[in-house]
Every structure is written in structure tokens, then in C-alpha cells.
């Protein structure tokens, strides 16, 4: 009975005083964390009163919040935010891959220029870059594509027509993102053993083919998780383009409250939608990472790595 001191008879009241009850009657009673219960109760109480006071605070103008939550102007802003995030990430990821491969190039001019690109775009504030792209027309009134200095021009246009707020935003966000993605992709490429590249070359593959078919698919394991973070970061970063008068989510809120002075409820609407989007992305990211994690866990017992999304046929 001594070693069973956490185990009490099921009907302790009835059998009180008796020693050695039937073992089938024994019930395990876990340790009771009274401190935890009390602390939780206090925190929940505070939270409830906070929610209560916010919900009933007339200054938050909740009717206005609900009025604008699904209003056309905010939904349009939401759509533009999503569009900007998607396009900027496409530019960022493809640019990042190109930059990462160029950064690892044997050509010193190519890798040097790439290093310069990273230095500039990571070293200056994104807000400044956005304003710069937006004002490109002031610096270069005419943009033409052709052979430099002498040759013919294939394309010529006024910068004012070409650099709309949207293209300025995509350029600013995308080119900046490419610099960050380049480092992520580079780390992924370097995580793949040199033996893989040698095996590919020994089979007669050229550098780019080996990169595309052998190295990059394996680098994805390292590339995907931080790319999820970058996408969530990009979603919020799109709010910066409100400075160049592009009516994404935040700018839409601003246009409304500059007219109605209902600042807080409109910012709450914007926050609500940002939270909805980031929640969705976080969920997607955790699903992908769980799959990757499963495959690395399975592989750690074995000599090689096996990607999870290929294993389930």
C-alpha cells in the first residue's frame, strides 16, 4: 500500500479504514495544479473585462466596423493586397533563384554584380525604394530598350505611362524580396552535398540542367520554411505601398477615414483582414512544414533524405 500512495480506492468513502482494496477498483488521480487554475482564472477575468470594455466602448464605433467590414472599398483593397503579395512573391522567388545561381557563378563579374545588388537592396529601406520607383519618371522620363549607346531601340515609352503605382509597387516589393530570397535559395543550394553535383556532372549534365533537376529539388527542403515566413512578411509589407497612393487594404482604410474621421474602426477592419490572411498562410505553412518534418524525421534514421511529398504516391 505504501508504494500506491497516489492511487486511492474508487469508493474511498465506503472502504475508509480498510486496507488492500481490489486492484480493479483503483482510480488514478492526477496531481491538481491549483496555482495554474487560479492564475488562468485571473488572466481570463482580465481578458474578459478588456473585451467587454472594448466591445462596449462607444469610441470604437463597432457599427462602423461592421458597416465597412464587407464594404466594396475594403474588399477591393483586400483583393489588391492579395494580388500584390502574390505578384511580388513570384517576382521575389524567381528573382531570388536567378540571383542565388548567379551569386554562386564562377564568373567574377556576375557574382560580383549580384553581391552588389544584394548589398544595395538589403541596405536601403524598402519605403525609400518604393518612393524611388514611383518617382522614376522624374529621373528617366523616357524608358527605351535597345542596344546601348549606338544600336537600334526595340522599345520606347514614357516612364509616366509605364511606371504606374502598381508597377512601381511590384518592382519595389519584388526586387527587394528577390535580394532576401537569394540568400534563402543560396543556403538551400549549399545544403545539398557536392556529391550530388559531381554525380550529375559525371553523367554528362551541364550546370544549369544539374541545378534544375538535381540540386534545386533537394534544396527545397531548406528553402520552403523561410519562404513561408517571407510570404507572411510580404503580406504585411504591402501596406507600405499606401505611400504611393495604391489602394490596397491600408490605403483603402485611409481614404475612408480621411473623409469620415472614423480612424479606429477602419484600421480595425484592415487589421481584421490582415489577420485573416496571415492566419490562412500560417496554417498552410504549418501543413507544409509538418510534411517536410515528417520526411526528415523518417530520414534521420537512414543515411539519405527522402522528400515527403514524393513518398506518398
Amino acid at each position: 500500500m505504501e508504494e500506491k500512495h497516489t492511487v486511492l480506492p474508487a469508493s474511498a468513502g465506503r472502504t475508509s479504514g480498510e486496507d488492500g482494496p481490489d486492484s480493479e477498483d483503483l482510480v488514478v488521480v492526477p496531481i491538481r495544479h491549483y496555482g495554474r487554475w487560479i492564475a488562468s482564472a485571473i488572466v481570463l477575468l482580465f481578458l474578459a473585462s478588456l473585451v467587454h470594455s472594448i466591445a462596449n466602448n462607444p469610441n470604437f464605433l463597432w457599427p462602423v466596423f461592421f458597416e465597412y467590414l464587407f464594404s466594396e472599398v475594403m474588399i477591393d483593397g483586400l483583393e489588391l493586397t492579395v494580388l500584390l503579395t502574390v505578384v511580388a512573391m513570384i517576382v521575389g522567388i524567381s528573382g531570388g533563384i536567378v540571383l542565388a545561381v548567379a551569386r554562386l557563378s564562377a564568373n567574377p563579374v556576375v557574382s560580383g554584380l549580384t553581391a552588389g545588388y544584394l548589398w544595395f537592396f538589403r541596405g536601403t529601406p524598402i519605403l525609400v525604394q518604393l518612393i524611388f520607383w514611383y518617382n522614376l519618371a522624374a529621373l528617366f522620363p523616357v524608358i527605351s530598350i535597345g542596344i546601348p549607346f549606338t544600336g537600334p531601340t526595340f522599345f520606347e515609352g514614357s516612364a509616366n505611362d509605364l511606371i504606374t503605382p502598381f508597377t512601381a509597387a511590384v518592382l519595389g516589393l519584388g526586387l527587394n524580396e528577390a535580394a532576401y530570397m537569394a540568400e534563402i535559395v543560396r543556403a538551400g543550394i549549399l545544403s545539398v552535398g557536392t556529391g550530388q553535383d559531381e554525380a550529375a556532372r559525371a553523367l554528362g549534365m551541364r550546370r544549369l540542367l544539374a541545378m534544375r533537376r538535381i540540386i534545386l529539388p533537394q534544396a527545397l527542403r531548406v528553402i520552403i520554411p523561410p519562404t513561408g515566413n517571407e510570404t507572411i512578411g510580404m503580406l504585411k509589407m504591402t501596406s507600405l505601398v499606401s505611400v504611393i497612393a495604391l489602394s490596397e487594404l491600408l490605403y483603402s482604410a485611409q481614404t475612408v477615414y480621411s473623409r469620415t474621421f472614423e480612424t479606429i474602426p477602419l484600421l480595425m477592419v484592415a487589421c481584421f483582414w490582415y489577420l485573416v490572411l496571415t492566419s490562412g498562410l500560417t496554417f498552410a505553412q504549418s501543413v507544409i512544414e509538418r510534411r517536410l518534418g515528417r520526411s526528415t524525421a523518417a530520414a534521420s534514421a537512414r543515411p539519405n533524405w527522402l522528400p515527403g511529398w514524393r513518398r506518398q504516391k
Binding site: E198, A199, L209, L306, R310
Partner: protein
């Protein structure tokens, strides 16, 4: 062509100030199996990698099938080849690595068909048919769709051999193909290599398997400190080594 498959004339290789190969001479005839033995760090792997230009040689001349490796000769000048030409030269040279280096994101079959389809641009169905035969030949027809991580070391190495053979090489290079294997798996890989030799494949094999060398090799080359100290039929070299250093090396491994 009837000349030797491999001809090395005074091949040198330096890494910075460190001279790893100091004038290697070696001739490998067609359908011949040459085993290279020698202590660790003597330059065996480096020499093998020079043969398919994974390393650029710093001196001497290296011919495979009568063609200079990595260079084109015009008059008395040597022009370095472009990446495309080097890659084209490697198509005819198969290589098997100590660490297998299978592509982990592809199945056994995927590993074997990759290069014939992407590099030789052969029709997919035809490549698949031929690759299945090759995998069958190395005794793995039941593991066709397994990923490398699901295969034992010996099975992985046999897939790696099939992958190299799928390019229909004229010459096969093996760099310690059984050194990373558990002892009981060595035999299955050597069996495949023995069959390959019997079919007349030209092979250069860096190995510590003296039994295999004795049985299969037409010549064994003993390499030490970046040079081939002596070379001869395995029977003679093993029984009566001429050099002090080959004698001490062989007394330790035989």
C-alpha cells in the same frame, strides 16, 4: 579506333602548392580492367577524377579513346574546352562513387532514366525499357520504385552502377565502390562488377579489395605519393613486389 582506352602521360595535379599527382603514367587497353591500389592520400581518387575532367590537370597529357580530356589540340596549342564539350566527353565515361551519390528525390528507376532522357535526349519509353533491363541485371527488379533511402547500401551502389551503364559508356571508373558498405554487402556489388568485366567493359577501379583485384584485374597499379610506383599482373605484383613501399603496403592489406 584501336589505340588504348586511357593513356596518361606524366599527369600532374596541384592543389595550390600541394602537388597531389606528380607525373602519373598509365595505359589502359580496351576491355582491360586496371585496379589502382595504394595508401590513403596517395592521389588515387584525384587521378580517377582527372580522367573524366572533374578535376583539371595541371600538367602532362591525358587521352580517353584517343581524345585529349578537356582540351582540343590545334597545331601545337591546347585550347580549353567549353562546358558543353566537356559534358559531351563525360557521356562516354561512367563513374561510380564511394558514397553512391544517388539522387535521393528520385526512385531507383528515376535515377537510371534521368541522364539518358535529359542528356542523350533518347525517347522516354525506349529508355525506360532499357533501364528496367539494366536494373534487372543488377538484381533489383523488385525495387524499381524504391527511393534510395529505402535501399541498403549494396542495393544503392548497384543502382548507381546501373545508372552509369544507362549512358552506354565506353569506360567505367570506380572509386572505392565497396568501401562504404557493410562487409556482407560487398560481395553483391563485386559480383555485378565481375559480370561487367566478363562482358568486356573497360574499367579502372580504385579498390582495397585485393581478392577482386587478383581475380579480375589484368593489371594492378600501386600508387604512392602521387606516382605509380609499380604496375603488373596481380599475381606477380602481389607475390613479388619490387618496391619497399609496395611491400610494406601489401604486407598490411593482404
Amino acid at each position: 579506333m584501336t589505340g588504348p582506352m586511357v593513356r596518361a602521360d606524366g599527369v600532374r595535379k596541384r592543389f595550390g602548392a600541394h602537388e597531389v599527382l606528380c607525373g602519373v603514367d598509365l595505359t589502359v587497353d580496351r576491355s582491360e580492367v586496371v585496379c589502382i591500389i595504394g595508401p590513403s592520400g596517395s592521389g588515387k581518387s584525384t587521378f580517377l577524377r582527372c580522367i573524366n575532367h572533374l578535376e583539371k590537370i595541371s600538367g602532362g597529357q591525358l587521352y580517353v579513346d584517343g581524345h585529349l580530356v578537356g582540351y582540343r589540340r590545334r597545331g601545337n596549342k591546347l585550347y580549353e574546352m567549353r562546358e558543353r564539350e566537356v559534358a559531351a566527353q563525360r557521356i562516354d565515361i561512367g563513374m561510380v562513387f564511394q558514397q553512391f551519390n544517388l539522387f535521393p528525390h528520385m526512385t531507383a528507376l528515376g535515377n537510371v532514366i534521368e541522364a539518358p532522357i535529359r542528356v542523350r535526349k533518347e525517347p522516354r519509353q525506349e529508355v525506360i525499357r532499357r533501364s528496367k533491363e539494366l536494373i534487372d541485371r543488377v538484381g533489383l527488379s523488385s525495387r524499381m520504385d524504391a527511393y534510395p533511402a529505402q535501399l541498403s547500401g549494396g542495393q544503392q551502389q548497384r543502382v548507381a552502377i546501373a545508372r552509369a551503364l544507362a549512358m552506354r559508356p565506353k569506360l567505367m571508373l570506380f572509386d572505392e565502390p565497396t568501401s562504404a558498405l557493410d562487409p556482407e554487402l560487398v560481395g553483391e556489388v563485386l559480383d555485378v562488377m565481375r559480370d561487367l568485366a566478363a562482358e568486356g567493359m573497360t574499367m579502372v577501379v580504385v579498390t582495397h579489395e585485393m581478392g577482386f583485384a587478383q581475380e579480375v584485374a589484368s593489371k594492378v597499379a600501386f600508387m604512392d605519393e602521387g606516382q605509380i610506383l609499380e604496375m603488373g599482373p596481380p599475381r606477380e605484383l602481389f607475390r613479388d613486389p619490387q618496391h619497399e613501399r609496395s611491400r610494406t603496403f601489401l604486407s598490411r592489406v593482404l
